[in-house]
Symmetry: C2
Subunit: 508 residues, 2 copies
Amino acid sequence: MITTTNPRTGASSATDVRETTVAEVDDLAARAQAAVGPLERLGRDGRARLLDAVAESLEADREELVRVADEETGLGEKRLNGELSRAAFQFGLFAQALREGSYLEAAIDHAGETPLGPGPDLRRMLLPIGPVAVFGASNFPFAFSVAGGDTASALAAGCPVLLKAHDSHPLTSLRSYEAIARALSGTDGDGAPDGTIALVFGQDAAGRMVSHPHVRAVSFTGSLSTGKVLLDIVNRREDPIPFYGELSSLNPLVVTPGAAKARTDDIAQGLFASFTGSGGQLCTKPGMAFVPAGPDGDRVVDRLREMTETGSGHVLLNKRIADAFGAISTRLVDAGASVAARGPDPDADGFVVPPVLLTTEAADLTRELTEECFGPLVVVARYGDVKEVARAFEEMPPSLTATVHAEDDEADLVTELTRVLEPGVGRLVYNGYPTGVRVSWAQHHGGPWPSTNSQHTSVGTSAIRRFLRPFVWQSAPEAVLPEELRDGYTGIARRVDGVLVPAGAGAR
Amino acid sequence: MITTTNPRTGASSATDVRETTVAEVDDLAARAQAAVGPLERLGRDGRARLLDAVAESLEADREELVRVADEETGLGEKRLNGELSRAAFQFGLFAQALREGSYLEAAIDHAGETPLGPGPDLRRMLLPIGPVAVFGASNFPFAFSVAGGDTASALAAGCPVLLKAHDSHPLTSLRSYEAIARALSGTDGDGAPDGTIALVFGQDAAGRMVSHPHVRAVSFTGSLSTGKVLLDIVNRREDPIPFYGELSSLNPLVVTPGAAKARTDDIAQGLFASFTGSGGQLCTKPGMAFVPAGPDGDRVVDRLREMTETGSGHVLLNKRIADAFGAISTRLVDAGASVAARGPDPDADGFVVPPVLLTTEAADLTRELTEECFGPLVVVARYGDVKEVARAFEEMPPSLTATVHAEDDEADLVTELTRVLEPGVGRLVYNGYPTGVRVSWAQHHGGPWPSTNSQHTSVGTSAIRRFLRPFVWQSAPEAVLPEELRDGYTGIARRVDGVLVPAGAGAR
């Protein structure tokens, strides 16, 4: 049977959930495959309605969901209430994206003469890729798990979803699944087809999902090591499929001399909040901060030291993360970092650790000092010249984000840092913090390997594109075309004969 | 030294080109990496100007390029002139796409209150992914080789290109490279940066390109077996990169009973032209045709038989393809296909083969009978009921395209065939032929594995997206933003606060 563990106490208890067998996964995958056509034929409006219903269903179960998640993750009710709001918002946002319809990338080239001779009528749009395997993440029991953005974007795309519950929160996964399934069942026969969503538990089921011939894409947020295991399974398939992995990120933050001087306390407080928030278990946590040498930088570090020394303990999500926190802290010190401060030893059972502040010199930075550490730990690297930051950045693996804190009169420095940081990240933050990722149309969550392994995103509306494939109808009779590709349809923006035509305009 | 072979005679001769060493690839990759920033900073207009110059340069060298390519490929001057026009057109089309600018997917979410609290300013667009390795294809010495769509789309994206010359046309590759390099050198210092384009020869250089840390994507059009070798190299990299492979495609074509009766001769002639054109060496060649049982279908087959029996020999591109043509023909017969017709044995040296018409029963179709055969060969599968087509289609690997020939009064049958064929292809052609791929905005060239291994396309303007990655600036000072993301810029379509704003409209 599956057990659930309270990270505040370390105590485990049995649940009435058992591991899903490989044969059961095969059955669920067959049902998902059978749902592909019916789910697509629900259309954009039909699926938007279902997504709105999921958002409502999550809200209706808020109290129970947050209670269970708090017991399983120790993240606290405030954070979990915020995260559940985000999860519900994501379903609603994808409903909006469906109704807006640009995501289809509808395009029509009418038949006609071209510089290369007569061209046939072509009509292109994106279609659902097929059943998708989604892995829940430990650190977001709602927003990156069963009720997460991957589920929302896959369902929006029209793809049935096979969900792997994370071992750290099996009951939260189950309750989330139940809330979603209830909404998808609809009322009066207007629900999603059978097979649209399924939940599996256990490693064997996870492996089978990734290798199953019906599964057309895999979405995973988690550790680099587990990601590589799954990617190896994908690579051994007869037919490779997209693996959207979000794996590891150090998220360097650079404080310029001007910023260290002008906003000493603000930056120290903001950085402390960012590297300790949610127990430092966010994929966008700033794990390394570059602070200038000299008295202004010293004061930033002093403030960080004070906050760290008096900081309370943080509950980590599970024993594996807590053990790794200790082991990686030790490795970082062995690699040359100094322990500048460490919070009081927590007087608690369970997976509770103090905040830790390490320091080093940017000029001495090695690859070993750039190991990602989940948990409330930051490495502060002191630099004399911005060239040391550039060189250090070359030692560092790419990240989801980088951050620059600078003053208005440091424009040239900001330009230089932008140029240095841009190639190695997917998002560049100015005078803010990388945690607290906005869910919106212009967002992007991804970066060069190992932060992610594709150009795509797992936050924001463009996440939907991961689960779509282009399709072209050539010289097709109108009856077989989706309505979005018929002449005269004006409900969505389309590219017609190379020209972008907004919704509601230019019917032809 | 590299040799060149005339496929009409089989005679090889030495060239003054030698294989590129691994050390030379390393040097070229370093120069390509150094070109990334300068090429990006040329901007959309700067790169569009260069692409137009490449198109002009190819046109200026037309006579020599076609002459050399004809000697190396045997494809004939008419086809090669058409293909060179297409290659030049592709560079011009991507210049248009650059000036139009939608491909950047520019999006702005202004800072403001959101349902989840205050949201920061986010500005997203696509940036070049970095140096790209492009493999020339044997069957398109221009349009899918050094001067091909992959080169055009990668340069348009702002990515330096490392080109692998195909062994079948080394001199065409070299001459094409010279024409492109001359255009890129510009006049009066307005050219592309050093390192923007490089040409390599030989297997060792090819392998090194794919494994080189600076290379950020690989684009390959060729055989499934070579594609798998390259994909294995990609999978062994420390950092996996996108591999855009276009590998193998059978392109089934279905003739309905109504079409067989109404357009017997037209369909037989069209199919014959489509499976023998360019020696049957097109990735979209219809390799299998479903023709109804009964007298109308018999007449279609009879007409195909007549044309095949009197058809002239076709020069294949190289010895490997010619040998495989013989071997696969034999395997198809061993698997149960009957030789319905075969053209006269060619009275020529070199790699010349006759057209071949094989027949089988759709009800008996096995995986062995669906092997792709490059060259002028088609397998006609006779069917009694459309259910046999559906079942046979399940035996078949996915393809780039499928084609339906049907009459207006067969609407239900067309709907049924559309539903059967859609999941296994990327383009569905009605009452036409899959060869002769239109290069345009709405085109898509791709399909489920093994036809391609990604959702992306190697024909049409959306090919550019393969070489771009999303990037977000959060709360950035205007000075570091690309002009396309600044407030008030109206030169391209953008999504502003979730709303699509066409170019020239709605400045904010």
